[in-house]
């Protein structure tokens, strides 16, 4: 047996090895940092463009229109302002005439086709203005709006300059965007219809997928015997979670619409289709959460004579709930952003009124975004971005809720 020489920890080779080790560590750190910076910059780019375009979608250009009611061709009795009287007063025409007096010959192109609605509302709010000259804010046309915010046609740019000089141009928050539904004119469209559609669809998805998913997870973890049958179920569920969403759309189309004859493009069918997609995610997250409940808690409960059902519902489920909820919300968030399967079941229709219930025709945020991004009119570009911001805010709120619930229910053992 040869004797080993004592290690020389200070030798040249040793020093080199140490230096090499440190260099490798630095390289690895740098690579990681680079990856983080890269992904962060992509995210920043996305946010900046979205915000740049989208925030404008929440505002609209307004023109302070001076209306001299006594001099206008409006024939209304200030003492008898009814909806019928207003409807018969031919306000659009009157508005056109008034606008011509105030803004010149091209007034028709400057005002939004729906500007008369603001005038009507002003009269309804205060009939006394009919006896004097009033200044009413009305929305500008899409062309003018674009020119005012960014880049429009040369004529409109000139008009903007002129109106600015007159001091009648202003920018206000577009409440209409949050309360209106889809429409044909970009100045009048809103996100509310799609938002409500999304809410209803999510509600259906949650009601269907959460109980079924949790029950499945509980059964598989707590009751099912380990055999080839449960193995097959487990593999199927894992595969189901990876199936492309368009397949679920086709499934929904053939089963819910063609077979069950449920109403087309309704939140109910959308929700059912998305529930199919979300369920595997909830099952997988739920099983992991249930698995992570320490066996000592089960032992403790069994050890003082709790029945298996009591163990599951009084101990395992409450402890697994934060994990299950997190998984559910992640699955729901994925469903919220889903477009393809909903297109398959007809939720791409033009829906101008918000759905009243889950069987009414509805659309959802991502489909709305998809539809607007397809529009020709330039006014829809910023609306698309604005809708994306709404969708992102919705997602952010859901994730925030997930974090809140996790922290609230999390228990240490």
């Amino acid at each position: 047996m040869s004797t080993r020489n004592p290690t020389d920890w200070k030798s040249e080779a040793m020093r080199k090895r140490i230096a090499g080790r440190y260099a490798a560590e630095r390289r690895f750190k740098f690579a990681g940092l680079f990856a983080v910076v890269l992904s962060a910059s992509f995210l920043a780019f996305l946010l900046v463009t979205m915000m740049g375009n989208g925030l404008r979608g929440f505002t609209r250009t307004e023109i302070a229109l001076k209306v001299d009611f006594p001099a206008s061709p409006l024939l209304l009795d200030p003492k008898a302002i009814t909806d019928e009287a207003l409807a018969n007063a031919n306000l659009p025409m009157v508005t056109g005439t008034v606008a011509k007096t105030a803004l010149g010959d091209k007034a028709d192109a400057l005002l939004s086709p729906t500007a008369w609605i603001n005038i009507r509302d002003a009269i309804k709010a205060d009939p006394t203005i009919l006896s004097r000259t009033a200044t009413i804010s009305v929305p500008a046309s899409t062309g003018l709006d674009l020119a005012a915010k960014s880049k429009g046609s040369p004529e409109m740019e000139a008009e903007v300059a002129r109106l600015k000089q007159q001091g009648v141009l202003s920018t206000g928050f577009n409440f209409g965007f949050l309360t209106a539904s889809d429409g044909t004119d970009p100045t009048q469209v809103g996100i509310w219809g799609a938002f409500k559609g999304s809410l209803l669809t999510m509600l259906v998805t949650l009601i269907l997928s959460f109980p079924v998913g949790v029950a499945t997870a509980l059964y598989l973890e707590e009751y099912a015997r380990k055999n080839w049958w449960t193995d097959i179920i487990e593999v199927s569920i894992n595969n189901l979670a990876a199936v492309p969403s368009i397949i679920f759309g086709l499934l929904g189309l053939s089963i819910f619409l063609n077979l069950a004859h449920l109403p087309r493009s309704a939140a109910l069918v959308g929700g059912m289709t998305l529930a199919l997609m979300t369920m595997p995610v909830i099952v997988i997250a739920g099983r992991n959460a249930i698995k992570s409940v320490p066996p000592s808690i089960r032992d403790a409960a069994l050890g003082i004579g709790a029945s298996p059902v009591q163990v599951v519902f009084q101990h395992v489920l409450p402890l697994a709930l934060p994990g299950i909820l997190t998984g559910t919300i992640i699955g729901m968030a994925r469903a919220l952003g889903e477009t393809a399967p909903l297109l398959m079941i007809g939720m791409r229709a033009f829906i101008a009124t918000p759905p009243g219930g889950i069987t009414d025709p509805a659309t959802v945020l991502p489909v709305q975004i998809f539809l607007w991004s397809d529009e020709v009119s330039k006014g829809f570009v910023e609306k698309t971005s604005a809708a994306i911001i709404v969708l992102l805010a919705f997602l952010l709120a859901m994730n925030g809720l997930a974090i809140y619930l996790r922290n609230k229910f999390e228990t240490r053992w």
Partner: protein
């Protein structure tokens, strides 16, 4: 002499096992154990790791039922009633034969709830006031009352390890069991907390039949009056603790307790 020692029988045993065999799938973990556990004694199970002492303990309240591959043969009786008989309700059995585990495992609930849980699911308390009495009595008996009486609604998991273990003992006591099984109750505790548990076991003796599995021979010597030595699934020797520790009959027992094992 040897036979007499290893088959030490007790008059009027609380629990008694006859030729109990436990299998995990194909593997036999317990190879025919017969033993009596009396009401007046603390019985300690000692033996090297994997000798089957914990497995055997868990057959006494059918905790092995939760392991799908486990199979128990032979007869175990509680007050003369076979606990593996179909007529025996396992939930009730586990209330009558309580268990304290190796790692303190209070529920992540309040101290009060930890104690009240058992009586509640078995319907032992007539009302809130009755439950308060049960909680206080159980905590007092577990030697924990003075330490926690001002914070009954704090989380049980916020207590120290030793307090948690005493809470678990109190939780077991709360359902008024007849037998308490303890599976290495002090292996996760420091010596002071261990001493408190041992003193508690001493105080509980006589009121409950207590069976304790321990790796710590000194602990078995300190807390028990009867000691059973398990080795490779066999009950090698069962006898009066002071005899086992001063004058074991079997060579294997002697080698184990004098530190000559392996």
């Amino acid at each position: 002499m040897t036979q007499e020692q290893t088959n030490l029988t007790i008059d009027n045993p609380k629990m008694s096992a006859r030729d109990v065999k436990v299998f995990y799938g194909e593997k036999q973990a317990i190879k025919g154990v017969s033993i009596d556990v009396g009401m007046d004694h603390v019985t300690a199970f000692i033996g090297p790791s994997g000798c089957g002492k914990s497995t055997f303990l868990r057959t006494l309240n059918r905790m092995n039922d939760t392991v799908a591959s486990a199979r128990v043969e032979g007869e175990i009786t509680l007050d003369g009633e076979n606990i593996y008989a179909p007529s025996m309700d396992v939930v009730q059995l586990r209330a009558r034969v309580g268990m304290v585990f190796q790692k303190p495992n209070p529920f992540p609930k309040s101290i009060y709830e930890n104690i009240a849980y058992g009586p509640r699911i078995h319907g032992l308390a007539a009302g809130k006031a009755d439950m308060d009495v049960i909680v206080e009595k159980s905590l007092r008996r577990a030697g924990l009352w003075d330490e926690v009486k001002d914070r009954l609604h704090d989380s049980g998991t916020a207590l120290s390890g030793g307090q948690q273990q005493r809470l678990c003992i109190g939780r077991a006591i709360a359902v008024e069991p007849e037998v308490i099984l303890m599976d290495e109750p002090c292996s996760a505790l420091d010596p002071i907390a261990t001493a408190k548990i041992e003193e508690l076991i001493h105080e509980l003796r006589g009121r409950y039949a207590i069976v304790i599995v321990t790796h710590n021979m000194q602990q078995a010597a300190r807390v028990s009056q009867r000691t059973a030595f398990f080795h490779l699934g066999d009950l090698v020797e069962y006898g009066v603790t002071s005899d086992i520790f001063t004058n074991p009959r079997q060579e294997r027992t002697k080698d184990y307790i004098t530190g000559r094992y392996g």
